[in-house]
Symmetry: C2
């Protein structure tokens, strides 16, 4: 089959790779009509995470079950399924607590920019849709695997509730999905921090009521201005840099929660500042599996259309252009069709 | 009147100070039958916080209202009252959100190791007891002003709920009050981290079910052993050092909250570690005012007796011995009688 391989920073190639096979009796093989490039793939693509050799890449997927191992019970060949970038048994204490990305038996589901993948722990990881989706729903369903699931977790971790004023730091695909999640969870006011016209427009479509173009301390001051000097009731941090995290903490009112889902790179938090801020922090790799049934239903019912984050649609063979366009911020998110 | 003054690290003197007077019409003057030394006073006493000149010290108080300003409505002379170490208007957005120690009009109530004090914003800060307390209840009522209020906030910030397994890092008076708070809030199992026999005994009286004497990584390993390898459902950090904070975060299971109330000194949190831990962090200066009505009722009804943290009872004039005994860990907490 064809699949994308990262050879070195800036060097993604689509080439022949071995077809996935059932290894453990709990595995499933899933054939992917669509896959995509994640903002976190750029950490590798840019060489910020070390690249030690050619490695299959991509971790977002949805598609049709082709084959299952002998112990798989909850999904069967022919079903359309979505899973998280970490497989999980969904029975261990961490899964039962809703933190499937901390499953004691978790495994990273990598190499998803490809025609097909092997998903370990299929019963605990995959959720089937109510039926075969129409083609136009594929992009939205695909986002549930990570980007929308992650934006959703940011909003849940930030404890967004109806009537709140919510600030979202980061206008990448995750930040935009965070805006959508906050709106879906009933936020009265959603402040999107963005200085890119195209992303501002999508944020507004997703439910943003205010756009703040300032960053850093100026961005904080602007959010305070919009909130009677007190700060937002909830803040979503969707970048992972030190600047973004500090901006998020300082934009939150005392007692507010900051949900942080940007994979931190060089972020150090000063205990004393956090103490006197009275801000609550919660984040991590989104436990997408927890949210999948609800999110599938919302897409299926037409309540939300997160697939609009894809503004570039390419054949898998042009994955390199997808990476370049996202790296140069020409595209918000690139869909790849195997 | 007599009052304690910190002249330099290690140099506390009780001397004549001016009687407090009403300055603003929202003030109250409170005469103190008891006051005490706080673990956080030791940061000054030890010179870890810079001491720039003679300064009245102490911030824990309860007593009888002697005089009120012309605008005070909710308390009157003769009532027995308790207040927090920060006065608050109890009407601003931060107060209404339950974070009175972030009140936009807050003022630190200092110089409380004295015969009497001025409390600003009396209406928003002071809570009266149902009647005049018996002498034997004074120590427990005094603890509500800070140490028990702070231990309580640690447990609330750690989201302690019935049936949980809770770990408490720190066996100072706040940590011990945290043990008591966790037990009062229905924790099924309370793991106290302590290597001091006397403190272990008091922790057990307060509701600790397990004692862990190990610290740092060994302490973490021991908590994991006691919790099926997963970690505690809630952790209270009651010290404020880097070691204690890291021990707390690592002792918590994914999704658990760490309530941190030790004033951080040199604590830096690594964003990446926090991210992958899935732990929730919340803390700060305890909004004692939020909890006072409930805590007064619990003491008044005999549901809890936090005054047992006082194991040294001295006349105010011997404040210096109270500090020395706490500094040398000969005493858990020193009560001072003006």
């Amino acid at each position: 089959m064809r699949g994308a391989v990262l050879y070195a920073p800036g060097d993604v190639r689509v080439e022949e790779r071995p077809d996935p096979k059932i290894i453990d009796p709990t595995d499933a093989i899933v054939r992917l009509p669509v896959t995509c490039v994640c903002g976190s793939d750029l950490w590798d693509y840019r060489g910020i995470n070390p690249v030690t050799g050619p490695a299959p890449i991509g971790h977002e997927y949805c598609g049709v079950v082709e084959e299952v191992g002998s112990e798989v019970r909850s999904v069967k060949p022919g079903q359309f399924v979505i899973g998280s970038f970490f497989s999980s048994d969904n029975t261990c204490p961490n899964c039962r607590a809703g933190y499937q990305t901390s499953c004691v038996n978790r495994a990273f589901v990598g190499g998803c920019q490809a025609e097909a993948i092997r998903v370990p722990l299929a019963d605990g990881s995959l959720v089937a849709t109510p039926g075969q989706p129409a083609d136009e729903h594929l992009p939205s369903l695909l986002t549930l695997s990570d980007v929308m699931g992650t934006g959703w977790f940011a909003a849940v971790a930030a404890d967004v509730r109806p009537g709140m004023t919510v600030a979202v730091v980061g206008d990448g695909a995750v930040g935009l999905c965070g805006v959508l999640a906050a709106a879906q969870l009933g936020a009265e006011r959603v402040i999107a921090m963005s200085r890119h016209a195209k992303r501002q427009r999508l944020a507004t479509k997703f439910g943003a009521t205010d756009i703040v173009t300032e960053r850093g301390e100026e961005g904080v001051a602007r959010v305070k201005e919009l909130t009677n000097g007190i700060g937002a009731d909830a803040v979503l941090e969707c970048v992972g840099t030190s600047e973004a995290m500090h901006q998020a903490v300082r934009s939150a009112r005392p007692g507010a929660s900051v949900g942080f889902v940007g994979v931190p790179h060089g972020v150090a938090l000063d205990g004393e500042e956090l103490f006197y801020s009275h801000v609550r922090l919660h984040g991590g790799p989104a436990p997408v599996r927890r949210f999948l049934p609800d999110l599938i239903e919302r897409v299926w019912n037409g309540q939300m259309d997160p697939g609009r984050v894809f503004d570039l649609d390419l054949p898998l063979d042009q994955a390199d252009e997808g990476y370049r366009a996202m790296d140069e911020r020409r595209a918000i998110k690139a869909l790849l069709r195997p």
